[in-house]
Each structure stands twice: as C-alpha cells, then as structure tokens.
Symmetry: C2
Subunit: 363 residues, 2 copies
C-alpha cells in the first residue's frame, strides 16, 4: 500500500487558504515560500519561564492531560518565538500509558515504565488498539483548543512516537544508551517483536487519524532512537512497520519522519514515503537531502545542533547560516534543530535564532 | 608534524619475529595474514565468570590498580577466547583521576567524577602532565606482567581515551547522552576548552610512550563519544588535538583510532594518520573503508553489533559473515565488535564467534 504523497494530494482537507498557503505547508509540499519556515522541537518547554510557571505544582503528565493548559503552552510558545508552526504539547509515551504500561516522569530522571515488556505474553496483555487510541482523547481536545487559538495562517503539527522508539521504551523501561534489551528481544523473540510493532502501529493509525480530525495540519513521527540499528536490522525489523504507519496517514497531511544518528539510514527512512525527512545535527544536510532523492522528491527539516543555544550568539547565528547554506536556498527546507531544545537554553537566544532565519531568507 | 605510519616504519622496536609476524600486527600493516585476526573490545569483563570471581570484594578501580590481577584477567580472557590480541585491563578514566579529579564507579551506575571541570581555573588546577602520567605506573606494571605471561606471538594492545572523550567525562562529571555541558563549555569558553585539550594531550603523550616502553605492541585511542559532534565542530575543536596525540605515538606501533556514531566523521578521523580506523556497528564497513582511503591506505577494525551476542546463535554468525563480506576478504581487516561486549552476553556465544571468524577466514 502506497500513500498519495502530500505534494500530489492537494487541499483535500479543505484548509482555509491562509493556512494552506503558509510558508510551513508550502515548504512541506516542496513549493517556494516567502521565507524559510522555522519551528523548533520542544519549543514549549522548560527553558521558557511561561512554561515553568504553568508546570509549577503539576507533574509533566498532568500538564499533558490538562487540554486547556497544554493548548495554552503550545500557543504561547509559538507566538513568543514567532515560529511558523506550532506543535501540540504532549509526549510520545502517552501511547504506552494508554496501552496499559504504568508511566512516571521522575524529576530530572526521564521517563520510567514500571512494567516493561519482556515476552510475548506481555505483548498480548497490552490494551486493545482502538480503545487505547480513544483513551488519548485529551490530546485531541488539546489540539482542538489550540487550533481555535492559533492565527489562521499557523498550522499545528500533531505527532506520535514511531513503533521502534516506542517499543524500545516499552522494553527498556525507560531511556537507554545501548538498547541491549531491545535488541535482545528483537533478535531472540522475533515473533513477539513483530507482534509488538504491529500492536503499536494498530494503535498509532487511529491516534494520528484522530489528531488530524481534531485539526492537526501536519504530523511528525519521532523515531528518535532508531539510529542505534544497522541498515540490515532497520530493513528487517522496523521499516515494514513504519511504512505501514506512514501509508495510513490521511491524505492531505504532510508526514515528517524524524530520527537522530540516522546518517547511515537516511535513504531507507525516506523510502517510507515521508513528505519531509527530519535530519539531526550530526548528519550533513546537503548529503542527506541528496541521498533521499533531493528537493524534487522530498522536503527536509533540520538541523542545527541544539547545544549551540547554550553558547555565544555569534557562533549560533553563523552555524545557522551554515545550515541555510547546506540547504542551498532550495524550496523544501524547514529550519529546525537536530533534536529538542535543551532545558538550559537561553530564551532570548532561541528567539534571536528564529528572527535570524527569517531575516536571512526573506525575499 | 606527521608521524611515520606503521606500515612504513618497519620493526624499529625489534619485536620477536613471532609477534612481528602475528596475524594482528600484519593486518595493522595492511599485509595479508593466514586468517582474519579478531579481538573484542572489553573482552575481559563482567560477562565472564573468571572476571567476576577476581572482581569479587574489590571495586573496579581496585582491580585496575592491582597490576598482577589486572594482568591475570587480561591474559585469561585472551586465552579462553582464543583471540589474536590482548588488551590491557584498565579504564580510560584513570587518566582523569591521575590529573586530580576524584573518580568513583558506583555499582551499575557507571563512572562519576565528583568535581567536574567548569571553567579555566579548574583546567589550570589539573595536575602536571608528566607527573600525572608517571602516577599511572600501575598500568605499565600490569603491561609488563601481561607481556611476560602472553605467548610470544600474541601482541598486547595498550590504550587511552581520546582528549575529546576524556574532556566530556571531566566536564559532565560522568556519562551523558546530549553532551550539553561539554558543548556549552566548548562554545562558550573556547580558550579554556583548548587549554583542557592541550593538558590532556600533554598527559596522554608520555602515558602512551610509557605503555609502549613497558611492552605494548599496539595502541588504541578510544574517542567513544566524539560522534555527537558535527563535522565543523570536530574539525575546529577536536581534530588538531587528536592529530597532535597521534603524531606523537612512537614509531613502530600501530595506532587504532576508535569512536561510535562516527559515520559522518570517519574520513576526518582517518586523516589523523591512524593506522587502523575503528568502525562502529551503525556505520557501513565497506563504505567507511572507502571513505578512509581504502585498504591501500589504512586498515579497519569492526564492526559487529555487540547486542547480537544476546540473541540466537545463527543470527550472530550470519551477521559476522556479513561483516566479513563487507570487508571483502581484503588484507587489513581486524574483526571486532562495534563497541564493547555487553555484560549480559553469553560467554559461549562470544567464544563461538571468535572460532567462527577464524574458521571462516583461514586459508
């Protein structure tokens, strides 16, 4: 099953003209825009005072589940930064919680899943996909509230974790550096692995469709940790599942597929029919774009090192210029970081970066 | 300053013929050998019962500092596995301890440096390089004891951490995923950064020379985390320092330069005049070798995913065959993992892997 790609589908969702013609969506289609659009992964987050104030006294998950508040931090960050798109404030792991895996975020320690998946029985005991997706209605409520509050010409990006990255959290019980348990499961229990990936995709398909129905104008799939795999393993254990998810994305919505440390996989990632390939900061943007088929085939998003937001302003802006130069002024480049904004980032530096990209590319 | 490369230097150290003609050293020189030599990073470690018995009741650092015991675990692992080289049992972080940074290894938690470097004053307060290197005499004692115990045809590899990877531990105070502090220091305090890198190289040069004088027949520099950098940052902040260290390696000793996640940097790494480039498992070995100049210029080492040692035997050996196929039977390939052996590995699988590589390549 192949999906009608965004650049060929037309405005089948009947978006208002201002949004359809926004710099962000034009660029997702590979069309020229009045400036290079920019948004930043984790643009609403701890580096920002407004966010910390709204978080105060609440857990991270409580904030995710308070639809009005999630919408407020989403809209505020978009406006304060002046970026070309908003991304709904949420987390990829809410899907695992909805599937029945208890999830906590300890302060400073990252996520913890207290009942990790370790065998086929644990996979079989996961919640039913359609019902689990339906239990994430609070995300769709937040999307609806956000779209009501955003200017008409600002698209909202919905998102989910990719099946591999979600599976890795489910199996490791949290973050990992080596992904030893994940790989041992994948190699040692291949049938259970594929069943887990299928179950995740079966859940993500209605979840993404619901986000679009609620008003998301674009979707990003975060396969943040897939770069730990070899090409052979990516092809054997991951690509068919990601491709099935990508193929089920509703037409008329651009699909952005993002991972880190994927310079050895980037052409395989593009082959899943993503409309936009997310490129991290360790990967050469020009080379990656070429290997994905070039501007005639796909758009790209990236790829400034987020750590530059911790350093001096002149170096930050010079490196931003290098990213723009690597994109070569071609239509189809969305400026972004190579990964999420670090919590230590200086807010004024983040805003200066956005202004700089706009000023440097406006014609 | 350029170093006389190993393949051009000849047996200036006057090694016994059996060792000079060993499969490992021949392969470091790009010469054909009777079989593809194999050793495995962290081949003496927690996955092995003998090691766990010798560790019992001691901290990891106590084992490193007990020269006789360090030699024993080094020699035992080499012999039990039947690998073509030994690597001295030690840790890259002992150099930071010698420079005055208190170091502990908490059970299961990885290393912790309790007084991380955060400014120029902290760099200036590090110990004097020559004296710090001299304080690592216990490593050289272990090397001498190991060489006495090894068969004449088995070379011993000495090693150190590369300046970038050591600096990252010194600044982060331990392991890291994003290296945010390291990069903030690098961008924000470039003079202090370069001073830190110089101080590390000034310490590593006599440390490596002492290892060679004690009997190491090859050296590996572990730049394990350098893959987090862009090409531009590698060139600006790291390459000159690594190159100075590489250029100071005594002639007649092959230098192996290893990193992970370096598929975007591999040609720059090879340009430091390493004799052997270590390739991790996410990087395509054939492509990496080509980009480093091919077998006529450099040897390569790698690159089986260590997680395969946690899975079924047939897949492990099939993937080992794929690594050998990627090397194309060319002289100059040292078989190894793409990173260290995981502690959950099954010892019999590790030994079976070594036997398989020997059997598959013997002519």
């Amino acid at each position: 099953m192949t999906r009608l790609r965004y650049r060929d589908a037309g405005n089948v969702l009947g978006l208002p003209a201002a949004r359809w013609d926004s710099a962000f969506l034009r660029t997702c289609r590979g069309e020229r825009a009045p400036h290079t659009p920019v948004w930043l992964m984790r643009q609403a987050g701890r580096y920002m005072r407004h966010y910390r104030e709204r978080r105060a006294g609440r857990s991270f998950l409580e904030l995710c589940k308070d639809s009005e508040l999630a919408a407020e931090v989403t809209v505020y960050a978009r406006e304060w930064l002046g970026v070309d798109a908003a991304i709904i404030f949420s987390d990829i792991l809410v899907v695992l919680e909805a599937l029945g895996l208890p999830l906590t975020f300890a302060a400073g320690d990252g996520p913890s899943l207290t009942r990790p998946i370790d065998d086929a029985a644990a996979v079989a005991s996961l919640g039913a996909p359609e019902q689990s997706a339906a239990d994430l209605g609070y995300v769709c409520d937040a999307i609806r509230a956000t779209v009501r509050a955003l200017p008409a010409d600002i698209p909202l990006i919905g998102f989910c974790g990719a099946p591999f990255t979600l599976a890795s959290y489910a199996i490791e019980g949290g973050g990992s550096r080596q992904f030893a348990r994940t790989k041992a499961f994948m190699y040692g229990q291949p049938a259970a692995w594929h069943r887990l990936m299928e179950r995740l995709v079966d859940t993500l398909i209605p979840y993404l469709a619901a986000q679009v129905a609620a008003g998301a104008s674009a979707l990003q799939i975060f396969d943040s940790w897939v770069g730990c795999l070899t090409r052979a393993d990516y092809a054997a254990y991951v690509a068919p599942h990601t491709a099935r998810l990508a193929a089920a994305v509703p037409p008329g919505v651009p699909l952005i597929l993002f991972g880190t440390g994927t310079s050895h996989l980037i052409d395989l990632i593009a082959a899943s029919d993503a409309d936009v390939v997310g490129v991290d900061h360790t990967t050469d943007l020009a080379d990656a774009w070429r290997r994905c088929g070039g501007p005639g085939r796909v758009s790209v998003q990236g790829n400034l090192d987020p750590a530059l937001l911790l350093g001096p302003r002149d170096r930050l802006l010079a490196q931003a210029d290098d990213v723009l130069a690597a994109a070569g002024g071609q239509a189809g480049h969305i400026f972004n970081l190579g990964h999420g904004i670090l919590k230590e980032s200086e807010p004024d530096a983040v805003r200066a970066l956005v202004e700089h990209v706009h000023a440097a590319t406006r014609h």
